[in-house]
Amino acid sequence: MLDLINVSYDTQIPNNVGLSSDRKVLKALERWHPGYINWWNDLIPENFQKSDVYLRTAVSVDPKGWAKFDYVKMPEYRWGVLLAPQVEDRTVPCGEHYGQPAWQEVPGEYRNMLKRLIVIQGDTEPGSVEQQRFLGKTAPSLYDLRNLFQVNVEEGRHLWAMVYLLFKYFGRDGREEADDLLRRSSGSEEAPRMLGAFNEETPDWLSFFMFTYFTDRDGKMQLESLAQSGFDPLSRTCRFMLTEEAHHMFVGETGVGRIVERTCQAMKEAGISDPYDIDKIRDLGVIDLPTIQKKLNLHYSLSLDLFGQEVSTNAANAFNAGIKGRYMEQRIDDDHRLTGDTYVVRSVRDGTIVTEDVPALTAINMRLRDDYVRDASGGVGRWNKAIAKAGVDFELKLPHEGFHRQIGVFSSVNVDPEGKILSREEWEAKSKDWLPTKADGDFIQSLMVPCYEPGQFASWIAPPKVGIDNKPGDFEYVKLHMA
């Protein structure tokens, strides 16, 4: 019998989908494999490729087997195809096919819609690795370097997950799309990544932590809604990806938290109580809280753009088709069809922000974004607790949802972090107080010097409370290859 829990290594590609007896897909994946390895090797500097990194690898998709820790050289990481176990008698959880058996094959009428969703999801995964390619050179510790690489190899595996679906279910088009996923490149002029936020560079570690906290959280919400898909293979893939995604949330939340903690600690030691005494604080070799707020504003607003138009017929169609559900669809107590329901969205009318009821079906994006905002505010609360605990009078805040938006109803107006609509002139005069300036970026960049001694951390970040895999503080998470 096919073992659908444990990862099989009987082909070059570890998997729990019986690849060795699926010659066609196996052949397609094997043809794609060298291109992937080239892409990886071109991206990560050579000495890191040769370093031993303490990574977790999944050997099965049940809780006992998906986090085996050991030293691995990254090009030898066991990327593979892992699907969560099939749920018996699963049904389409939403839309007009609600309650019908979930599809094991692509329904013809939804083929293009599904392919597009899979390609967009797949495009973000390598995109983020590309954005983060230079960070290893300035890692504040071996611990952080290891976390960066863990995030990177798992984004790589998520690309594999989407590519498998393309090969398995979309024939020739699928193969072309899979090749294009390696052809496009973050920030490229000719072939950029599909979504804006994945073409911005990640210039420093504060940006990286903000990115993993805010932007990867969008990824998590998208995966959550695809995990509700009536197309069962997509649902199973996304469910397993979500277990890995949790690590990325962790890196972001604790990364920002440790920077905040270190800043407060340094201020206290130096007897500085005013968090806006920016020059003095920066002289301590730490990042002042107002600058952290600016970075938060930037990454949060870019991430909100990823949810698309507030009112969207595409989203309505995907939900109605049962291709994409809502966050925690099964726990929502309604008819899961939304035919007569309404949902409250914010909109701009005659220069003011108003709320209005729209058909709930068209507000699927908005609803997911509201769920995201709720999810994202949790960590901000934790950061503020650390600030309060240190006795510093400052509070980090999520800006208004209309602030600094390029997509959706707010893209036509300038909104300040409190939600007030500003004139173009007012915005231009004030935006430097809300968004990181070049000088802010230069200062952060000046702190970005590597710290590769086991157990040591750069001046601007506190050590973690707990090690990865419960390792002690001076554990050598990366054994650096010295050329």
Partner: protein
């Protein structure tokens, strides 16, 4: 719930509320509000499925508590409370449990799937004294139970002094024999099912009895059977979270055992006797041995009234009589057994040498057929309901 207990908790300062643990918990013991992710002490069965999936390390926290922290208390936390000063060696190292978990899994595998505790079972304490921190017990007595030179079975009573060692009927304790094996490593513990009820061999003394057969060449059984009164023994545990008796007074018990497999059955019987003094026990026992002389507790058993416990003592080596095994008696009593099988209040317990499993399974298959049931399906359902328990060795 026996107290004090070891409670599973999540460190709110380190947790990032990704809810991966909640999604991986097979019994739904983990839940969250906007503030914290918390573990329900009533339903967590310490299966550890949530431990490796946690990205943060916040999940692997334990406190020995006299009263478990409620969900409300946990929701209000900003940090974990300190370990309170409870007169116990604080257990901790979960790595410790692995050899024990393996021993238990091996013993329970005859149930044909993941065992589940009876729905109304009391919650057991486990791992209060991990392998790395065993507790010392004093031998209060060591009595020979059998009158058969080839079958030296002992009733050994251990006293934990002032130290708390809460143990439920059906649970096991680990004995660490002194000395080392041929490769110079310390011996692994041997597990023994307790044969005394939860309030103690002597009521309210919380001492514990074991039923131990001397095995030729057995390191631990030889050590135990030779112990003198007053000797000190290193004990770990308690262990086992599924082979437990139902608290529900209407539950019926069908117990099948051979030899020292009678230990948990003795504990069950004594607990019901004490809890329902004079009442109807609704328990049936099938107990196999070679002869009456080699059947542990033969004398005391005979004195238990039939209203409390219906006894089938079955012997395979009585001169002049055909050999009879427990499965033969099950078939002989098949109308009664069939009636119990079709009653959803019935809980089945099988304990003894591994060799008994096959015959018992065969008997059940035939009896189930007689009432139009498919045994494997019925057994799986009973097991999933917490009503079918096997512990063999």
């Amino acid at each position: 719930m026996t107290l004090p207990m070891k409670q599973h908790l999540i460190d709110p300062e380190i947790c990032i509320r990704c809810y991966t643990c909640e999604m991986s918990c097979p019994v739904g013991a983990i839940e969250h509000d906007d503030n914290n992710v918390v573990v329900n002490a009533d339903s967590c069965d310490e299966c550890m499925a949530c431990i490796p999936v946690c990205p943060t390390g916040s999940i692997d926290n334990w406190r020995i508590v006299a009263e478990p922290y409620s969900l409300e208390e946990q929701y209000g936390w900003e940090e974990l409370p300190e370990q309170e000063d409870i007169a116990l060696a604080a257990g901790g190292d979960t790595d410790d449990d692995d050899p024990i978990a393996a021993l238990l899994a091996e013993a329970h595998k005859g149930a044909g799937g993941r065992p589940v505790a009876p729905a109304s079972a009391a919650r057991p304490s486990v791992n209060l004294y991990p392998l790395s921190k065993p507790v010392a017990a004093i031998v209060q007595g060591n009595y020979r139970l059998t009158d058969d030179p080839d079958h030296d079975v002992r009733h050994i009573i251990l006293d934990f002094g002032g130290q708390s060692f809460p143990v439920l009927e059906g649970q096991s304790i680990g004995i660490l024999p002194p000395g080392e094996d041929a490769e110079g490593r310390a011996h692994l513990p041997r597990l023994y099912s307790v044969s005394s009820p939860r309030d103690g061999e002597r009521p309210n003394f919380h001492n514990v009895s074991l039923t131990v057969k001397r095995e030729p060449g057995g390191v631990c059984s030889t050590y135990l059977c030779d112990l003198e009164q007053g000797a000190e023994v290193r004990v770990t545990g308690p262990w086992g979270q599924t082979f437990l008796m139902p608290q529900d007074p209407d539950a019926r018990l069908l117990m099948i055992c051979t030899g020292t497999g009678s230990a948990p059955m003795r504990a069950f019987t004594m607990h019901r006797q004490r809890a329902m003094a004079g009442g109807d026990g609704d328990m049936v026992l099938f107990f196999g041995a070679r002869t009456p002389e080699s059947l542990p507790y033969f004398g005391p058993l005979k004195k238990v009234p039939d209203t409390m416990l219906k006894k089938h003592l079955v012997f395979s080596r009585i001169e002049g009589q055909p050999k009879e095994y427990v499965q033969d008696r099950l078939i002989a009593a098949q109308d009664d057994v069939a009636a119990m099988l079709s009653d959803p209040a019935t809980h089945i317990y099988i304990c003894g040498l591994r060799g008994m499993e096959e015959g018992v399974e065969r008997a059940f298959t035939s009896i189930a057929e007689s009432i139009g049931e498919h045994w494997a399906a019925l057994r799986d359902k009973m097991r999933d309901d917490g009503r079918y328990h096997v512990e063999t060795y």
